[in-house]
Symmetry: C2
Subunit: 431 residues, 2 copies
Amino acid sequence: MNGPVTDNARLLERRYRLLGAGAPLFYDEPVHIVKGEGVWLYDADGKKYLDVYNNVPNVGHCHPHVVEALYKQSQTLNVHTRYLHELVLEYAERLTGLHDDPLAMAFIVCTGSEANEIALRMARRHTGKQGIICTNHTYHGNTAAVDELSSIFHNGKAPGPNVKTVPFPETYRPLNGLAGETLADACAGEVKQAIDEFEAEGIGFAGMLICSIFANEGLPDVPHGYMEKAMGHVREAGGLYIADEVQGGFARTGKRMWGYQTSGVTPDIATMGKPMGNGHPVGGVVARADLVNEFREHVMYFNTFGGNPVQCAVGMAVLDVLERENLQENALTVGNYTMQGLWKLQDKYDLIGDVRGHGLFIGVELVTDREKKTAAAEETRLIVNRMKDRGVLLSNIGVYGNVLKMRPPLPFSKDNADLLLSTLDDVLATV
Amino acid sequence: MNGPVTDNARLLERRYRLLGAGAPLFYDEPVHIVKGEGVWLYDADGKKYLDVYNNVPNVGHCHPHVVEALYKQSQTLNVHTRYLHELVLEYAERLTGLHDDPLAMAFIVCTGSEANEIALRMARRHTGKQGIICTNHTYHGNTAAVDELSSIFHNGKAPGPNVKTVPFPETYRPLNGLAGETLADACAGEVKQAIDEFEAEGIGFAGMLICSIFANEGLPDVPHGYMEKAMGHVREAGGLYIADEVQGGFARTGKRMWGYQTSGVTPDIATMGKPMGNGHPVGGVVARADLVNEFREHVMYFNTFGGNPVQCAVGMAVLDVLERENLQENALTVGNYTMQGLWKLQDKYDLIGDVRGHGLFIGVELVTDREKKTAAAEETRLIVNRMKDRGVLLSNIGVYGNVLKMRPPLPFSKDNADLLLSTLDDVLATV
């Protein structure tokens, strides 16, 4: 029998040969996961890991209600939407019903990238202009048009002429050292400036696409009033506000169903992905009816797998579980409980510079100097790997890679939070 | 109890309200399909249809082996590829093993659009140039970059500067009335000319992306020698040949596993989609190892659902069924049998101008004048709708929409072919 090291070496060799050495992997020593259940993952040696990372299995790994819905519909019919079927309508109705009022029509697609592609095509067609604004540390997907916006992997390389980035809004490292209303004005002013530049360059302004909770940016606390001001500029210029709910959506914030609802500004288009099918490839777009009708009138958009009965059965089952198990309330309660525990650890460890987030999406920013806010990137890497060794899976985000990313499946309990907190306490003591 | 008309009217009203009136539907009076099994689809009234259209359920609607594999793996683990897992490696190994030799590395993604996006990004990065050649009547997907190539829905609008179209090769309506080697030279010469124009314009030439059996073009018989000559020009100019196997792949042609193998020219990159997961959203790319390694070195490409254990279990199960049920051989045998029956109908009905195809992918071109080859578009529409009324589902393709498209699930039997042929005989008699 091979031990785990040999097994992993063998798997890595095959992986490099078949997928390429550059195919991304987590951890200095990757884990070989073979089983998932609820908030738990298990490796090939039977070692159990608390999953504090994965938002795709939003209602818990391999949730029976979702798996049974998948199975049942897969046995019955799995075909495209050019025939009539009830399920795509029921799902679209339920989904738009969960969104704020003007978002009344839906596209069901397969991935968040495909959803953002539609949003960009719709915004550019509606305005007849090309310019898209995004933040300076974000990711919106892997296709060419959305990759242009995904500054997080561009190593500082400037985007093409049709994309401009603005500094993301944050209070922890505020723009020009400002605070309060002045900070919100200044951050929103960056949006205004980018719009003006697009217009001056003859490219014109189509819209602003942001993650509604700025997840890849490091989950910043946003200056109060920023969203109203920034989107005020966007709309004054005739542009569209597109909210990417791939990370912030489906009850994760605990407060509301969608990330954009935490700011009180309703987008013109919202895009969805990761948690939508609990692992089954499902993405979606909801938008103002006039925008969808206009797009549909001019563009023959068809998505082979998008909206098929299996996707919709799975999507419905995910929503069932969110409701039946009160997972939004759980996200709020356990999220706040976890946050309180992290604040206690902040009192104990100088390394913790900031703790912030929404519901069960929490960022813990690590700094070697609280005054200077010096990013503790190497310490963050060490902690992420040591947490893994001790059976707790998390990751890191942020401009400096120094923010611990905690984004567990939503059935995460207070007991799970206690295990996360005590393990983190132990690991912080070793750094 | 509501009758079917009322039901459909109700479904259409909801559909227009939730998805938009422009969301595409088949047939003048759409069908409400609720169940699928093998080569059969059933509507809400229990009416049975022979499916002569769908290549997504390639091994048959709701095939139990595929459904059970989906169910089993969904109960066990469904998570991304940044942890190690055997299945993505086994599937990548099996898939690359089925392709011609230099195509040794794989990406597993969710859709054909995502696969073609990778191919374009890879070709443009490898060459450092932007120009892509495609045919003048094709479709390669729904994202912005591949939509640029999808002339089929552009109503004659010219593509952007980075895309040039060439006339697709065909013998039925040959370029400039040429024939034989001269025709092949002339068609390939169009490719050479597009390459030269890209270079002269300073855009440069990155590659040529084609469906390896020119499906949307109407499944033309390709002038002998065309592929060697055209791809000779492509490679001489340092460009890449990208074969889109979304329609031609997975044994459909009967002769070989992949469409490109029917021409004898191996591509640098092949992309896959529709039939790959029998309805489960799976797409893929196989390519030369040097191309993948180069891309992976410079681009952080990650696909959330791509390559997850459930996708791979389903993909493996589809390949199992193809092998166990000898579906490639069946595609050849029954495809040839169907073709013979269609030739007999051609003797009987002047409307049938040409019958052509590969295995279980057959095009029947309808013309009102065999000499002038006048496209019988309206008759084609009538026949497609009347076939549907009589319980046989097919569609139409081609520049003039006058080619009956026959592309059934591969377990299509001679009995099924007899039903198709006799129904078509009856319907042709009514036109």
